[in-house]
């Protein structure tokens, strides 16, 4: 096994994962809008069409519902499709196939079939694309039994989780934060998988647990660095998988730190942090809490266009700093 590690961007890591998967398994193919010669709306598929041909890197019409259904049907009957949405917001056009068909097919048919389907969703705000191209909707899909939902935060995990998703017999939804596509990080060469359903402790600490998703992991790590200089040791957990959620890692951390902040870009109410908080409130870690749980989520608003408003609509490093300081200092 080749274990050479290079610096790759998050987008390059995803592209490499898809190329490896297609080389390993003839059943794997890509579907999506403008993923061929255009290279994908975010250049993630890049030049894969030239390497693998139009039959395996298939441009679809602008038909999210139909396209998603085709992917479900192909997955049901022996293929391993990877379906790219141009923007995660467009999942709204395909919810029928994702939620009513892909997620439930195995259950409804009493286990007679599996739906080994991967869907990739460029997600999140920060690009000035406004309300219909900037949402974080992982909680919508995380609410559906039958789906698995992941949010890689690093190039390493973007590749490893995608390869794990392709190997998985069930439908896996991958939310890729658009602002991470250009972020570089160490990525091993060759095939490896990152386990679905397992969170990762990105920084250890004893004073406060910060559970973060996607780009918020990096904001939490930046905040943790500042907090360390102030004598506050924050533990940063990269959730990585929304469903199934890694309860053990979070519970163990909260028992250690006695304080919990959840940071996520999706709308705060009924979001991923609501589940993390409730899960802790129901667990034996509740008795260890020294302070109320804090949720830092997206504002109760569509994502606005103006760049300053846009920033204000999602949690930022100063928000994390303030919450952590207040928690540790007993300010309510």
């Amino acid at each position: 096994m080749d274990t050479t590690i290079r610096e790759l961007s998050y987008a390059q890591a995803i592209q490499e994962a898809m190329a490896i998967a297609m080389e390993r398994d003839e059943r794997v193919f890509l579907m999506g809008e403008d993923i061929g010669v255009y290279g994908g709306a975010f250049q993630v598929t890049g030049d894969l069409v030239h390497r693998f041909g139009e039959d395996r890197v298939m441009d679809t019409p602008i038909s999210e519902l139909g396209g998603a259904g085709v992917a479900v049907g192909a997955a049901l009957t022996g293929m391993r499709p990877i379906f790219e949405f141009q923007f995660s917001d467009f999942a709204a056009l395909a919810m029928e196939q994702i939620v009513n068909q892909a997620a439930k097919m195995r259950y409804m048919l009493g286990g007679a079939v599996s739906v080994p389907l991967v869907m990739r969703f460029p997600a999140g705000s920060g690009t000035g694309a406004a309300a219909q191209h900037s949402q974080s909707i992982e909680a919508w899909l995380g609410h559906v039994p039958g789906l698995k939902v992941v949010q890689p935060a690093t190039p390493h995990d973007a590749k490893g989780l995608l390869l794990a998703a392709i190997e998985d017999p069930d439908p896996v939804m991958i939310f890729e934060h658009k602002l991470l596509y250009k972020m570089k990080g160490p990525v091993p060469e060759g095939y490896y998988t990152t386990p679905i359903g397992k969170a990762e402790i990105r920084r250890e600490g004893k004073d406060v647990t910060i559970v973060a998703t996607a780009i918020m992991v990096h904001k939490a790590l930046e905040a943790a660095e500042t907090l360390a200089s102030e004598g506050i040791a924050a533990e940063v957990i990269d959730l990585r998988t929304v469903r199934p959620m890694d309860r053990e890692t979070i519970i163990a951390s909260v028992k250690k730190t006695s304080r919990l902040i959840c940071v996520y870009e999706g709308v705060k109410t009924l979001g991923v942090g609501a589940e993390v908080s409730a899960m802790i409130a129901e667990s034996d870690a509740f008795d260890f809490l020294d302070a109320p749980i804090v949720r830092l989520g997206g504002a109760e608003t569509p994502i606005p266009y103006n760049p300053e408003l846009e920033k204000a609509a999602v949690p930022q490093v100063p928000d994390i700093l303030k919450s952590a300081r207040d928690l540790v200092n007993g300010v309510r």
């Binding site: 992917a71 049907g73 196939q97 195995r106 048919l109 009493g110 069930d170």
Partner: protein, 347 residues
């Protein structure tokens, strides 16, 4: 006058096989007898299910296809066990026509572990994957893109198999229908779209819901043949299906077949039939019943006699009784298995 001319024009078997309707030229008496048997089996299965529902043995709801049997059986005739179908909420007929066992279907309706979906799906999700039936569907138009995806697999895997997607007239106004037909045509996929137009999407007539006179007219927008057939004439349906299946198998792409038909029963168990007249319903039952029509044809062309028909009916009766008994006496699912098969068990 018109009736007389048609009657005279009808050829007798001895006058030459080439003038017989398609099914009587193309299939053996044995195969035609099997087709009639399947139509009975569908009819009696649904009547049995309806009775069991009335007696409280089946809960939930169901959508009966009584009156539409020729379309299910006729479309299936040129299919092999390896070919696939996607079906609809009115899908019992499709399932039986594709070769399912009525015992396991009844067991599913009774919510039993021995049912096709182990009691998890019920009438609206009845499936028999082993016979290529990818399942009924509770969502109008939900199966159409899935059929296109299955056809994409068949093409990619070079299997030579075809996929049939059944749907009703209601589905032809869903976006999924249009998106799916377009992609199937662009990619020349081996799929046959079968619209069973029974005149009403629940209570709304096609005249009130659909801008074109025929669903098949919409095929033109997707550059594929659009064929209209008398959906209550088994031979007409089989002829259109045969041509479409051949076309699909030879890589020439999809076809849209519209079977004009009628459901004798209401949309579901809550239907009070306020949107259609008693006269209309009675006319279809008395004069255009697909089973009666096919029986008459078979007798006219000397394929079967009254005793032969009676023997089939008796045989089906026995099968239905045994199937209901199997369902009644089968074990219920274990409550501990509630969340089984939400995900594939990797252990």
């Amino acid at each position: 006058m018109g009736d007389k001319i048609i009657a005279q024009a009808k050829p007798k078997a001895e006058e030459g096989r080439h003038n017989l309707p398609f099914a009587f030229r193309h299939y053996s008496p044995g195969e035609l007898g099997q087709a009639l048997r399947k139509m009975y089996l569908i009819r009696r299965f649904e009547e049995g299910a309806e009775e069991s529902y009335t007696r409280g043995l089946i809960h939930g709801t169901m959508h009966l296809s009584i009156g539409q049997e020729a379309s299910a059986v006729g479309i299936s005739l040129p299919l092999t066990d390896d070919d696939m179908i996607t079906s609809t909420h009115r899908g019992h007929g499709h399932c039986i026509a594709k070769g399912a066992e009525v015992s396991r279907m009844f067991a599913e309706f009774f919510g039993k572990e021995t049912g096709y979906c182990r009691g998890r799906g019920g009438s609206m999700h009845i499936a028999d994957v082993s016979k290529g039936n990818l399942g009924a569907n509770g969502i109008v138009g939900g199966g159409i893109p899935i059929a296109v995806g299955a056809a994409l697999s068949m093409k990619k895997l070079k299997t030579g198999r075809v996929v049939v997607s059944y749907f009703g007239d209601g589905a032809n106004n869903e976006g999924a229908f249009h998106e799916a037909l377009n992609m199937a045509s662009v990619w020349k996929l081996p799929v046959i779209f079968v619209c069973e137009n029974n005149g009403y999407g629940m209570s709304t007539s096609t005249r009130r819901s659909t801008a074109v006179a025929n669903v098949a007219d919409r095929a033109a927008a997707y550059a594929m043949p659009g064929v209209i057939v008398d959906g209550n004439d088994l031979s007409d349906v089989a002829e259109a299906s045969h041509a479409a299946v051949e076309r699909a198998r030879h890589g020439e792409g999809p076809t849209l077949i519209e079977c004009k038909t009628y459901r004798h029963r209401g949309h579901s168990k809550s239907d009070r039939n306020r949107y259609r007249t008693k006269e209309e319903i009675e006319d279809w039952i008395a004069n255009r019943d697909p089973i009666q029509l096919f029986e008459a044809q078979m007798q006219e062309y000397g394929v079967i006699d009254a005793a032969g028909i009676e023997a089939i009916r008796t045989d089906v009766e026995r099968e239905i009784e045994a199937a209901i008994e199997f369902a009644k006496t089968s074990p219920a699912p274990d409550l501990a298995g509630l969340t089984r098969d939400v995900y594939t068990d990797l252990a």
